[in-house]
Symmetry: C2
């Protein structure tokens, strides 16, 4: 299968590395909106101009879109879905229905197949919520994120005047995890579930206490959480906070039995050294499925909920039954 990567930031570089781990996959090339001559691929792959992608319509089995959810994907995915089988990681939960409809219409018009909102959340976490709800209908779901870098929260801090750089770690609170695991189904506030740890490089003349105040009172992002702010040097930021670890937990506890006498816990967790590389691994596996399903004549938009797991694997169904069932 020939895959193309569209967008060459952290996620695009992760996809490039992930394709190399899958012998049935081949990287056709990397499409960039920058001048291709200024972009060097980590592996020597072809770098091509995003504006030229239609020229290669018949040579690419699927395109992995590695743009951002805020501004890139809402326009990009529907635009490309008419001419290519595309996979994106659109993660603005509230806008998924509208994004789905736009991509579905485009893909159907072009007789192509798309998958949106793939990765780990949305993605693998969503799948685990669905499976657990179907198995234990009488129960309660909990999702914890971290410990890991939230790009959105880091960016929000960077927009504060006087901030040169920032990194925000979302940290699940151990007591809350324990309470959830007990099966007692506690009701937990945002503050009870996660801490927000911020590391900030301030401009030399900046008012640090004003920055700290601006962070801690920022609505939606920080106001509802216990937040710590630590000012560090540019060197320390580079040395200790350059990695992009992440992870989290999806837990459902529920009751069964004629008198609800039995409690069960289903827990799925991820611990990731590199959020973009892991996300890219998920995208490449689902690209395999989308390529196969497209070659069976399917069209329109799908989500991870629509993909039979066997289609994700390079192994035949017979081998899967023999070795993994």
């Amino acid at each position: 299968m020939k895959l193309a990567i569209y967008g060459y930031g952290n996620l695009g570089r992760g996809a490039e590395a992930a394709i190399l781990k899958n012998p049935d996959m081949e990287l056709f090339g990397i499409f960039t909106r920058r001048d291709p001559d200024t972009v060097r691929s980590n592996t020597g792959a072809k770098v091509l101009a995003a504006g030229d992608i239609l020229k290669y319509k018949d040579e690419i089995d699927a395109v992995i879109l590695c743009g951002g959810s805020a501004t890139d994907l809402p326009a990009l995915t529907p635009m490309l879905a008419m001419d290519f089988n595309v996979i994106d990681s659109f993660d603005t939960h509230a806008n998924i229905p509208a994004h789905f409809d736009a991509v579905d219409a485009a893909a159907k018009a072009g007789n192509k197949l798309s998958l949106i909102s793939c990765g780990w959340d949305p993605g693998m976490f969503s799948l685990n919520r669905l499976y657990a709800n179907a198995i234990l209908p009488d129960g309660r779901d909990y999702t914890f994120w971290g410990r890991g870098v939230s790009q959105g929260h880091s960016d929000a801090i960077r927009r504060i005047p006087g901030v040169l750089d920032a990194r925000q770690y979302t940290v699940p609170i151990g007591d809350a995890l324990d309470a959830v695991r007990s099966g007692r189904q506690p009701v937990l506030s945002a503050r009870q579930k996660h801490l927000r740890e911020c590391y900030v490089v301030a401009a030399p003349d900046a008012d640090k206490s004003a920055i700290e105040q601006a962070i801690k009172t920022m609505p939606n992002y920080f106001a509802d959480y216990d937040t710590t702010v630590t000012f560090i040097s540019e060197d320390e930021m580079k040395e200790k906070h350059s990695a992009l670890p992440h992870g989290g937990f999806v837990i459902r506890t529920g009751r069964t039995g004629l008198n609800d006498e039995h409690t069960h816990r289903i827990e799925y967790s991820l611990k990731l050294d590199s959020n973009p590389e892991f996300t890219a691994g998920v995208l490449v596996a689902f690209a395999r499925a989308i390529g196969r399903m497209a070659s069976r004549g399917e069209t329109g938009c799908r989500t991870v909920f629509d993909i039979a797991p066997a289609d994700l694997s390079p192994l035949s169904k017979e081998v899967l039954r023999r070795t993994m069932l």
Copy 2:
């Protein structure tokens, strides 16, 4: 959807309770090979003779087979698969390919749809192995079971002369779990991964040391493990060991990056108060999928690998995208 239960032991009773937790499901009746007049349902459901099941062919959307893998299911599932959509929990891993072929042929001959080897292992654990392998192709899988009652091992002890009753707990070893979670990908022997804890009621005149010896040296079941044997009274067995808890862990760690520089861990775990009730919950969710897929005209045999997750949920795809993605 109208479901029937075939076999009314622990699993059948679990399925009866699980159906009540799913408002879109209705229990048509329970089929038993015993005299139906001697079997009382826990919920007042109809109890019918197994031999009469064909009379109800047109009234049942799917049959959940609640027999044992050793002797019941190899004959039963193919027999019923020609006339009904059936779901079983066949768990003799080595014989899954042969069982699949037999059920597939029968279901195709009768234009029906079957699902075999559903539950948590095989079942949810298998799904997690598949997903994790697809996402992290360069890695290693580990499955741990327990702490929980192994019926097969308990039965094996009961066959030793002088044993009146026995319960065997499979116990995962914490140090092994920690080593796996570290991402170092250790190679672990059976003995390093699990302990076997046995509780035995001996006949008054039995030679306890001979029983202990017979257990600890039993090939396949115990010889390759560190095994503890504790003799207890019938009363203590009833009081402390009547429940059927179980659970376990599926863990895959793997590396990504152009230089394998990042390590990731995917972990799925279950902690179950009642193994049969949880297993039944899985069976009922997959029965929903099989009913839907059959009504779309699909025939033959399937496994959990072939089921798009959305088909397991009572919610529409639109609601799933809005609420769980």
